[in-house]
């Protein structure tokens, strides 16, 4: 599990790649939270185009990041989600809270 961050003009993009399970989430959870703290973004994108597998550990990461960004008045959304992770988001009903869009 890898996270690559780009920050420009109040916009933080977090590009995740690999398999997002509990093992992978432990590696990147703190990095993501620290980056949000450092940059205080107005817009935060999580790009999941390269996440080939995700379980409920991914939901925890997205929710935690969402709460943090929301608390500083920013917006967060998740994009480029592949089929399997999208099925997990759908089963949990996360799209009722956070904007999530599928890969095109």
């Amino acid at each position: 599990m890898k996270a690559v961050f780009t920050y420009d003009n109040n916009r933080l993009t977090i590009a995740l790649s690999g398999e997002l399970d509990h093992h992978g989430a432990r590696d990147i959870m703190d990095k993501i939270m620290n980056k949000i703290d450092d940059t205080l973004p107005r817009d935060c994108h999580i790009d999941m185009g390269k996440v080939s597998f995700m379980d409920s550990s991914g939901i925890a990461i997205v929710l935690k990041a969402y709460k943090k960004v929301n608390a500083i008045g920013g917006r967060l959304w998740v994009e480029n989600v592949q089929k399997q992770p999208m099925h997990v988001f759908d089963a949990a009903g996360i799209d009722r809270i956070i904007g999530i869009s599928a890969t095109v």
């Binding site: 509990h22 093992h23 597998f53 949990a92």
Partner: protein
């Protein structure tokens, strides 16, 4: 129900084994020629159940996890994940959406997802003795097994 094939694995509750467990099950069920979506669902189920053992059954130790998969007639797959750890005090509560004892690193959605992706989900637990999760999934019949 006639059992056609089965496998059994045992491994320690190291989180690095989550990926191994779901890949092994995906490999085993490949003989049923599942769709990509079905493989994704099965891998998710294994990942959720094994993660529960790692996080909740053995919070402060490394313990044994037993994973059994059986294939029955008509493409029915049964996955059993068993641990010998802490056990669950209140199974009803544990199955509620958003409920977790795992802090904000866990979403509390594991059982909700398992229920959504299975045709049947059974959880048996004895505090202090361990937990057994049994999941049944019926795959589409694209090919008939000999």
């Amino acid at each position: 129900m006639k059992e056609i094939n089965k496998m059994k694995l045992e491994f320690p509750s190291n989180s690095v084994n989550e990926r191994f467990a779901r890949s092994a099950v995906a490999g085993f069920i490949s003989q049923l020629d599942p769709t990509l979506e079905e493989v994704g669902d099965i891998k998710t189920l294994v990942s959720e159940a094994v993660t529960n053992c790692i996080v909740h059954a053995y919070p402060n130790e490394i313990g044994r996890i037993l994973l059994k998969v059986s294939i029955y007639e008509k493409n029915l797959v049964e996955i059993i994940v068993r641990d010998y750890g802490k056990g669950i005090e209140d199974i009803e509560k544990a199955r509620e959406p958003m409920f977790t004892t795992g802090g904000d690193e866990r979403s509390g959605m594991g059982f909700t997802i398992m229920e959504s992706f299975t045709d049947s989900l059974k959880v048996k637990s004895t505090p202090g003795k361990g937990t057994t999760v049994s999941m049944k999934v019926k795959l589409s019949q694209r090919v008939r097994l000999r």
